[in-house]
C-alpha cells in the first residue's frame, strides 16, 4: 500500500516537472512571438504589410507557408543581409532588393522568425538564438 502511494507520488512529481518544462518552452515562444511582432512592425511592416500581405509585386507576402518551411534555415541570412535574388512566392516571382538589417542581434532575429513563422497561417513553433548563430554561418 505504501509502495503504491510512493510510486504514484513520484510519477506525479516527474509528470509535473515535464509539464512545467513544456510550459516554460511555450512561455518562451509566446515571449518571442510578442517581441517579434514589435520588431516586425518596426523593421518589416512597411513593405510586407500589417497582415503579411506584401505590396503588389514590389514586396512578397509572408503567407506562403511552404516557402517559409522549406527556407527556414535561410531566413536568418535574409533578414540580416537582405537579398537581391528573385524569389517565387505563391507562383509569383518577385525581383528587386530586400534591404539588410545588420543592426539586428541574433535574439532579435530569432524573435522575428518566431513571429513570422507562427503567424499569417504559419505554425512552426520555437526558434532559438543559437539556431540563428548556426544559420548565419551558412549564409551565401
Amino acid at each position: 500500500m505504501r509502495k503504491t502511494l510512493l510510486t504514484t507520488l513520484t510519477l506525479a512529481v516527474i509528470a509535473s516537472i515535464i509539464y512545467s518544462c513544456q510550459n516554460a518552452d511555450e512561455l518562451k515562444q509566446q515571449m518571442y512571438y510578442t517581441n517579434g511582432r514589435d520588431l516586425y512592425i518596426k523593421h518589416c511592416q512597411n513593405c510586407h504589410g500589417a497582415n503579411g500581405e506584401g505590396l503588389g509585386k514590389l514586396a512578397p507576402p509572408l503567407t506562403d507557408t511552404l516557402f517559409l518551411k522549406q527556407n527556414k534555415q535561410k531566413l536568418a541570412c535574409l533578414i540580416k543581409n537582405g537579398s537581391d535574388t528573385t524569389v517565387t512566392i505563391h507562383n509569383q516571382t518577385y525581383e528587386g532588393k530586400m534591404p539588410d538589417n545588420p543592426q539586428l542581434f541574433n535574439i532579435d532575429i530569432a524573435q522575428l522568425i518566431v513571429y513570422i513563422t507562427n503567424t499569417y497561417g504559419n505554425k512552426q513553433g520555437i526558434y532559438k538564438p543559437e539556431q540563428v548563430t548556426e544559420d548565419l554561418k551558412n549564409c551565401r
Binding site: 512597411n46 513593405c47 503588389g56
Partner: protein, 231 residues
C-alpha cells in the same frame, strides 16, 4: 407673491411658459439640423498674399492671392511630358518618394493605392508622385515600379525631373521637405505628406501618408472637394 397665491393665474402662467419652452426647443432642433446640413468646405492652405484690384467703377479693393502650384514640366513613367495641364480640371494627390525607399514610401503608396482603387472609375481624381532620386529613378525605373505596384494607365503619374526642379517645387510649392543626405541609410530624406490639390491648383489638404487616421481623413475630404468642384 400675488401671482403664486392665485391658483388660476399661476396655472395659466405655467401653461404659458411650457408652451414657450416647447416652441423654443423646436426652434433649437431646427437650427441644429440646419447647422448639420451645412456643407463643410476644405480650407485653402499655404501662405497668402494680397493685391489691389480695380473694380469696374474705378474704385479699388483688396483681393487675396492664394498659394498656387506654378506651371511645371517633368517626364512621366512613359517618358512623356507631365505638366500642370495634365491635371486640368482635375483634383489630384501629390507626394514625393523614391523607388528604392524602404522606410515610409511603401506605406504611403500602399495607402495611396487604396484611394487609387477606390476612384478607379472616376477620371476626375488623379495622382502625382515625384521621385526625389534624380540619379537612379529614370522613367523606365518608374514604369517598372508603377507596374509592380499594380498601377496602369495615366491616372497616376510618376514624375521624373532634375534635382533643382523637383526639390524646388517640393519645398516652395507643395511645402514638403525633401533633401539628399549622404548620412541617411538610403541617401534621401523626405516627408510623407499626401497633398490634396484642387482644380485651381490650390493646396486644400496635407495628410501624413503613413498615418492611417489621416489617410482616412483624406478619403473623407476627397468627396467634399469633388462636390465643390462640381458646383
Amino acid at each position: 407673491m400675488y401671482l403664486c397665491n392665485n391658483p388660476i393665474t399661476s396655472i395659466n402662467y405655467i401653461m404659458k411658459s411650457a408652451r414657450y419652452i416647447f416652441s423654443l426647443s423646436i426652434l433649437c432642433t431646427i437650427l441644429l439640423f440646419a447647422a448639420c446640413k451645412e456643407r463643410r468646405t476644405l480650407p485653402i492652405l499655404g501662405p497668402r498674399d494680397t493685391k489691389e484690384v480695380k473694380n469696374a467703377d474705378g474704385t479699388t479693393r483688396v483681393d487675396t492671392v492664394y498659394k498656387t502650384i506654378p506651371a511645371f514640366s517633368f517626364l512621366n513613367q512613359d517618358s512623356l511630358p507631365v505638366t500642370g495641364d495634365t491635371f486640368k480640371n482635375k483634383i489630384y494627390i501629390a507626394d514625393f518618394f523614391f523607388t528604392s525607399c524602404t522606410t515610409i514610401c511603401p506605406t504611403m503608396h500602399r495607402n495611396m493605392k487604396t484611394i487609387f482603387d477606390e476612384y478607379k472609375d472616376n477620371p476626375d481624381v488623379m495622382f502625382l508622385s515625384h521621385t526625389i532620386d534624380f540619379k537612379y529613378d529614370i522613367p523606365s525605373k518608374l514604369k517598372k515600379y508603377a507596374t509592380k505596384l499594380g498601377v496602369d494607365g495615366a491616372r497616376w503619374q510618376f514624375a521624373y525631373g532634375s534635382k533643382d526642379s523637383v526639390y524646388k517645387i517640393a519645398e516652395k510649392d507643395y511645402l514638403v521637405a525633401v533633401m539628399e543626405d549622404s548620412t541617411a541609410k538610403e541617401n534621401y530624406v523626405h516627408q510623407g505628406w499626401l497633398v490634396l490639390i484642387d482644380k485651381n491648383k490650390h493646396i486644400r489638404g496635407a495628410y501624413d501618408g503613413t498615418n492611417p487616421e489621416q489617410v482616412a481623413q483624406l478619403k473623407k475630404d476627397i468627396p467634399i472637394l469633388l462636390a465643390e468642384e462640381k458646383k
